[in-house]
């Protein structure tokens, strides 16, 4: 069988998940001694193709239309390429932009789609594992169709490396401009006064804090440690903490010496943004996924543990 993996780039750089896509694509193709085809669309496709030419890649299709990501161009180009390559499995990253066009391609190809795959195997049909209920359980699905489409969670598979001998070929997509109904007019970086990426010590607060007034105990702990306060998404959405302090997929990626997560459940969207030397979690749910990534934990009421810890450190 053939696997077609559609890579992603942004503002002139291939995103790391693109290299992960090559690994999972190769694994799947190997299951049937099949071929791995890779697509790269818009921008400097030749430059990208050189970097994507890793061990295990058989063919790289370049589509030169467009500069930055535009979902209407991607949808048309990938649909046409898939109709030519006829893959058994179509793979793309489970990212904001991946989810912005893959469902439309799946609809046009009449290909069943599952998103956010964390495991993919192929044995006569495609089997996909994904999480449910914020990772409390995992589910598996069999998909009996060709093509089948899946988006893969970033950070799960290793990045491909080595130098390959792929055939690099330009694919001539026919882009119907009248069907390009969205136009990207610009980008903006979310700035702010606080740079959590520079902090050595972060005290991060999540939904478990329950109200804005309760932030006081977190501030006291941060003061005792001379730490910077960070937050997970729900706290930012509530406006309790400014958006520049958001850690996670849609916020910043941080690399502190010490990260103390207070009342954070630990969704992948949050923890994918943390690379800490020492990671401490305080949460009253023993099954919270935050304990999967923490080095040290306390399973107890944060309203008791946090003031007691501040007391100890003062």
């Amino acid at each position: 069988m053939t696997v077609l993996a559609v890579t992603e780039h942004r503002r002139g750089e291939l995103r790391p998940v693109s290299m992960e896509l090559l690994s999972v694509g190769r694994e799947l193709a190997d299951a049937t001694e099949g071929d791995l085809h890779v697509a790269v669309i818009s921008g400097d496709v030749e430059g990208y193709a050189d970097r994507l030419n890793c061990e295990g890649v058989d063919t790289i299709h370049t589509v030169a239309d467009g500069e930055e990501f535009n979902h209407d161009i991607y949808t048309q180009a990938v649909t046409q390429l898939a109709e030519t390559v006829e893959p058994t499995v179509l793979l793309a990253p489970d990212t904001v932009n991946g989810l912005d066009y893959v469902p439309a391609v799946a609809d046009r190809l009449d290909a069943p789609l599952l998103t956010d795959a964390i495991e993919l195997t192929y044995d006569e049909e495609l089997t996909i594992t994904r999480e449910r209920y914020e990772g409390k359980v995992e589910t598996t699905f069999d998909i009996d169709a060709s093509p089948a489409a899946a988006t893969i969670r970033p950070g799960v598979w290793p990045r491909a490396n080595g130098t390959g001998s792929a055939e690099i070929t330009a694919f001539d997509a026919t882009i119907d401009e009248s069907a390009v109904r969205s136009n990207v007019t610009g980008y903006q970086e979310l700035g702010g006064e606080v740079d959590v990426t520079e902090a050595d010590v972060l005290v991060a607060v999540g939904r478990g804090i329950e109200s804005e007034d309760n932030l006081e105990i977190v501030r006291n702990l941060a003061d005792a440690l001379d730490a910077t306060i960070a937050a997970s998404r729900p706290v930012i959405d509530n406006g309790w903490v400014s958006a520049d302090r958001q850690v996670g997929q849609s916020g910043k990626t941080v690399t502190p010496d010490l990260y103390i997560a207070v009342g954070i459940s630990g969704t992948v969207q949050h923890v994918s943004g943390v690379r800490a030397e020492t990671f401490i979690a305080i949460n009253d749910d023993p099954n919270a996924p935050i304990f999967e990534v923490a080095d040290y934990g306390v399973v107890d009421d944060l309203f008791e543990v946090v003031p007691a810890l501040t007391e100890q450190l003062s």
Partner: protein, 259 residues
């Protein structure tokens, strides 16, 4: 202006739970209006405050009506619920299946815009809005955290990863998937809640939507559901808050950051 908002009931699992077949035992699930949909609804209600109508659509059995009534209490004018035995027979309602159902509802209702939440909190497929737009041959914008409407164009801000936002102009009609934080969803007053309890919810089957037997054949079959094995390597301290705090303080001192 008429805006159709998709509303889903999302479940969270208790700390301790049991698995029953291919699902979590209902006794350990708490359900609520999906957080993303609350923001989508609020956005629609604000845009139609002066003139217009907000209609919600929910795919689900009788038991989701409490959640639908929450949406009515928070400002929706009307609610539609789609369910029948054919939908109940699916082991999973995947995004393309849901999009096919919603397409038929859009054909019935003829809204000017469709809003969905970016994703549901429990399944997190995050794909239904884009699939629906494709089926309708409409424009779309996803993960929208700011929206300004013109007569022919929606100016949207899309939230990408890593504190980066994309500014995009999308033609109307459009399906927009709404991100949390775009507004402040209102709390329903007691009066609103009472009114919502008495409101009629229009229930339709696939046949009533004109969807034939073979319109919704999905080749996705759920085969298992299980609790993943913990890979935790965390040292978890036990004891009173004072005792565990003392252990944490020792760990923190050993990192050397507290000096």
């Amino acid at each position: 202006m008429k805006i159709l908002v998709t509303v889903t009931e999302a479940a969270t699992v208790d700390t301790v739970f049991e698995i029953d077949g291919l699902g979590v035992d209902d006794r350990y699930l708490s359900t609520d209006l999906n957080e993303w949909d609350a923001y989508a609804l609020e956005e629609a209600v604000q845009l139609t405050e002066e003139a217009g109508e907000v209609v919600t659509v929910t795919i689900g059995p009788d038991s989701v009506e409490e959640t639908v009534r929450q949406a009515l209490a928070k400002g929706a004018d009307r609610a539609i619920r789609i369910w029948d035995d054919r939908l109940a027979a699916h082991s999973v309602l995947d995004p393309l299946t849901k999009a096919a159902v919603l397409e038929a509802v859009v054909a019935d209702e003829q809204p000017d815009l469709v809003f969905t939440g970016v994703q549901s909190a429990d399944d997190r497929f995050g794909a239904t809005g884009t699939a629906l737009a494709s089926r309708l041959d409409w424009a779309w914008g996803t993960v929208v955290n700011d929206l300004q409407l013109d007569t022919t164009v929606a100016h949207v801000t899309r939230e990408l990863e890593g504190s980066l936002e994309e500014l995009t102009d999308t033609r109307r009609p459009a399906v927009l998937t709404i991100q949390t934080g775009i507004n402040e969803p209102r709390f329903a007053s007691l009066q609103d809640i009472t009114r919502a309890q008495q409101a009629d919810i229009t229930v339709k089957s696939l046949t009533e939507l004109g969807l034939s037997e073979d319109a919704l054949v999905s080749s996705i079959e759920q085969t298992a559901l299980y609790e993943p094995e913990s890979e935790s390597e965390a040292t978890v301290f036990d004891g009173s808050p004072e005792e565990t705090a003392a252990e944490l303080a020792t760990v923190i001192e050993e990192t050397g950051v507290a000096q």
